[in-house]
């Protein structure tokens, strides 16, 4: 008997991987994104994060107890909402500041982990 979890995990992705045509670009996909805070509007609760010259919008209306500091690195977990003309925004469920995260360690570990996961699936 195999047991399964009911709640879907948020797949960590790089901002450049969220674009029309990519496997991650699906309505309602649970994603975890990382980037530096470039903009934040208190009126709309929309934050803009950027990584490697790609920027991405986050709807933070449901988040509590998170301060928004320009220049800090953030990680958000939530669902992808695709609007007309393939514009996308993440409806965040949780967010955290990840200042101090080594981007090379994170990116390389993520690639190695994906490789390991596909080996597990194929074995």
């Amino acid at each position: 008997m195999m047991a399964t979890s009911i709640i879907k995990p948020a797949v960590p992705v790089l901002l450049k991987e969220i674009e029309s045509g990519s496997q991650f670009f699906k309505q309602g996909a649970s994603l975890r994104v990382t980037g530096m805070l470039h903009a934040y509007s208190e009126d709309t609760a929309v934050a803009v994060i950027a990584d490697a010259n790609i920027s991405f919008k986050i709807n933070t209306v449901h988040l509590r107890d998170l301060s928004f500091r320009f220049g800090s690195y953030y990680q958000f977990i939530g669902e992808l909402h695709i609007l007309p003309e393939d514009v996308a925004i993440l409806q965040a469920r949780v967010g955290r500041i990840v200042d101090g995260l080594d981007p090379n360690l994170y990116n390389q570990s993520l690639q190695l982990r994906r490789q390991f996961e596909s080996e597990l699936v194929n074995s």
Binding site: A3, S5, I7, P9, R32, V94, G95, L112, F116
Partner: protein
Amino acid sequence: MNWFQAIHVKLLASDFLSLTVHNPPNNDPTFFRRGMQVWRLETVGVVVSKDRTGDFLKFVVDDGTGCIPCIIDLTDRSHLGLAAEVETERVLREAATVELGKLVRVRGKITQGEEGGLQLKVRDVGVEDDPNMEPLHWMDCIRLARSCYDRAAHP
């Protein structure tokens, strides 16, 4: 004795959630990873849900490969003596640090929840302030799987 009974194995959540469960009649369920029996788990991930009901704190940890339900027993056992009082105090303090969005390291016993799904009965939990602890944990899981756990099942 199987040494792994005392060890909190480090597995990615997807690996943990794929464990095979054996339900022998009149006995507690047992859990296997590719033929190797496991009893305890250590995981690192983000708290994505938290729910306090009565004497139990239930929370879910998402490491990006899967979501692991965790449960902490907050029953006050101080009346049983000093050791139990100290233990209750420790558990309550640790449980108070579990907040939505925090990166936590959880160690616990692998059990089956009410609906038959896998869950962790928490032994200890702590917030990881250094965000690098998470990718380092992923690397530990991969290294241990390849060099240790895969071999333990088939020496």
